[in-house]
Symmetry: none
Subunit: 431 residues, 2 copies
């Protein structure tokens, strides 16, 4: 159900529309995801979306879509089409629809020149276009690319133009939300908390969580809950709207506590953190070092762990032992063990975990071996079969699991299960 705008007093409620510009998003393979980040930021400052649109790199089409957005929106956010090429039409079309001339912004031009100079390059002439701004617009310095963002207030409408690449768009829109939108919302905003659960299906989580969250649907401090299945985990998003951060925080904290009691150790994050962050935090707190021996995951588990800043404080090394020879050379897995049980077996997984732990001389060793597919499966060990093992001083643990999906999905599930095994061991022997 759509949220109802409150125009009867209280903080102003802006009606926002997002337009993503780019012909590639009108093909069968690309979807606009910038709008998800923008929506989150808008919700943070109490602004709700009433519609979004995607349009190709075509002047007439963008003109029509932008003009019709202005008719029903107080705020229009446009992403993409700010590059230096012929294709990049957003700047021109927006200026034309608003009836504003384009003028070169000296500062913006200088920043673009400097960006090229820093890499020892001369600015190509076509990049000059990126310094053009509609008269009266504010050019927002882009630290990650050449196209500045633009903020325009015109004729009772607010318009933000942002470059398409997410790493350029995100910091620019964060600034727009903070400097230009938060003051309008005067404190009212949506507060959201993301809980993440592993080891259970969506229906199981729903069964456990529904009796808890259904109690919060009414009343002044009501919380709306969305349950969402994403690969490797189930997410519960709790949202409440308030103008008081402390109050909203307390309401969400109480709700989180009730859900945590119901969900137990399957709940791995209550602040939206990733599995690799959660495991990294636990390792760092306990001053433990880890090393991994990966076969079917091909380095993915280690790559995820090392996505976390500071992970060099607890990741010592890993080996990707894709061949049987590498398992023997690098981990000391006896060739006879592989012959007897197969490379995908609990004895081999355990030997990998023990071997990497001992050779790296660390606290925790992890072994992952499986069949990622699409070939290599058998009746007894179908594609998707994965053995996850861990070893510590004085003990070890091993589990054989089966994961659905294609090669990349099996790799991801296997890395998630391995990190989760480590997490459960770290939070308590029975978790």
């Amino acid at each position: 159900m759509a949220a109802v705008s409150d125009r009867r007093g209280g903080p102003a409620v802006l009606r926002a529309e997002i337009i993503a510009v780019g012909s590639e998003m009108l093909t069968p393979t690309r979807v606009d995801t910038n709008s998800l980040f923008i929506t989150e930021q808008l919700n943070e400052v109490g602004v709700e979306l009433w519609a979004k649109a995607v349009v190709g790199d075509d002047r007439d089409d963008l003109r029509a879509v932008f003009a019709r957005a202005l008719e029903r929106s107080d705020l229009v956010v446009v992403t993409g089409g700010l590059g230096p090429t012929q294709d990049d039409i957003t700047r021109d079309v927006v200026a034309e629809v608003l009836g504003l001339p384009l003028e070169e912004d000296e500062e913006a031009a200088e920043r673009i020149r400097q960006r090229f100079a820093a890499r020892g390059l001369r600015m190509p002439e076509i990049n000059r276009r990126q310094a053009l701004v509609p008269r009266g617009a504010v050019a927002l310095a882009n630290q990650k690319g050449t196209a500045p963002g633009l903020w325009i207030e015109h004729d009772g409408r607010r318009i933000a133009l942002l470059p398409g690449p997410p790493r350029e768009m995100k910091p620019l829109f964060e600034r727009v939300a903070r400097e230009y939108l938060a003051p309008v919302a005067r404190g009212a905003r949506l507060y959201r908390r993301v809980l993440k659960i592993t080891g259970r299906t969506e229906s199981h989580v729903e069964e456990i969580a529904h009796p808890v969250y259904s109690r919060w649907l009414e009343g002044p401090n009501r919380i709306s809950t969305t349950i969402l299945a994403v690969p490797g985990q189930i997410e519960l998003h709790l949202t409440t709207r308030a103008s008081d951060a402390a109050g909203a925080g307390a309401v969400l904290a109480r709700a989180t506590g009730e859900l945590a009691a119901a969900l137990g150790a399957d709940l791995f994050s209550t602040d939206g953190g990733t599995m690799e962050q959660v495991v990294g935090d636990l390792l760092r707190e306990r001053h433990l070092w880890i090393a991994l021996a990966e076969s079917c995951t091909g380095g993915l588990a280690t790559s995820r762990l090392t996505d976390v800043p500071g992970s060099s404080e607890y990741v010592e090394r890993s080996v990707v032992c894709y061949s049987n020879r590498a398992k023997t050379d690098l981990l000391g897995v006896p060739a006879s063990l592989i012959v007897e049980h197969g490379a995908v077996s609990e004895p081999v997984g355990l030997a990998m975990a023990t071997g990497i732990r001992e050779r790296a001389d660390v606290d925790i060793g992890v072994g992952i071996t499986g069949i990622a597919g699409p070939t290599g499966g058998s009746d007894r060990k179908p594609v998707g079969t994965v053995v996850i093992a861990m070893a510590w001083r004085g003990g070890s643990r091993v589990r054989t699991m089966w994961f659905p999906g294609g090669r990349e999905q099996v790799k991801f599930f296997a890395s998630q299960a391995a990190l989760d095994m480590v997490r459960r061991w770290l939070i308590g022997p029975d978790a």
Copy 2:
């Protein structure tokens, strides 16, 4: 760049817009994916999308979005909002905008009754609404749910209404495409080819490619080109419309050949393949084995290589030597070399590449060492500095590069540059 519609003869070209109805798709977590399937089906019968939109379950909002779609589209496909509840407004709003009365379709009502009866249930009164159709509309039997699809031809416009759940939507839209759209297209469809380039900026690619592709914009075999910057590569999407697959293939092959001549070795894929697929194909063809020593990339380069089915035929092993001790233990990098030059240096990168190649006894060894950040940088070696090296029997190559962005992005760029170094060596010594 958007494709130009041809209204001057040949098969009719329909301009299509897709509208997804549902407030959940205006939150930060859900994205409309039905439109990808629909776009694919539309392209198959030569219909192109000029825009798409998402709107919440709100009458006024849907009315505005649907009315504006009718202004510029020959075909409007609406998904969602056909359920039995108050929230489900699509049927009513579309009938209202078109000025058509809603009438009960006897057959549709009977099918809904039977669907409930088959499960031993009486049809709830609210489901009766699902049998209402705008006068003149065709109700399309839904085998997977209660809401029929609707096909409407009215006032020169074609409109398809489809239920939101993908498993109901897909077979219904396949029928729409086959029965109502293919005859209009008379065999014409879109053919697409994706070229990928590395080692150049978007502007540089545009400078080189524009003189080539601008020659194809007119004439009977015209090709439209979209240029797209995604992390680590620039993509050129070539699209042509034809009723003859062999002819379209020849046109695209000739265009690809001209671009390949202009772009040289920077063009790494002419069929949409990923860098890891291209490198994997080259290794397999040449019967070569590879092993990697990764530091700052944390296993990502190997994980990408092993995303490709069959990669166990050329990936022998990798080590992630996050600590200096691991570099010495696993690769034989002299501790003194690390002390003298630093872990991020060309001598250490080369020693890693040579060390892994010799120890794994493979044809190609790769070494990657760098500063992924956010900490660890210095004036001389700022965050983003990465050394990429490779070694083969009889030679080696090393390069120091700098990449912008956060930790995950530096990791990705570094893995891309390392794979690209291998690719260039494989296709020829000077590439």
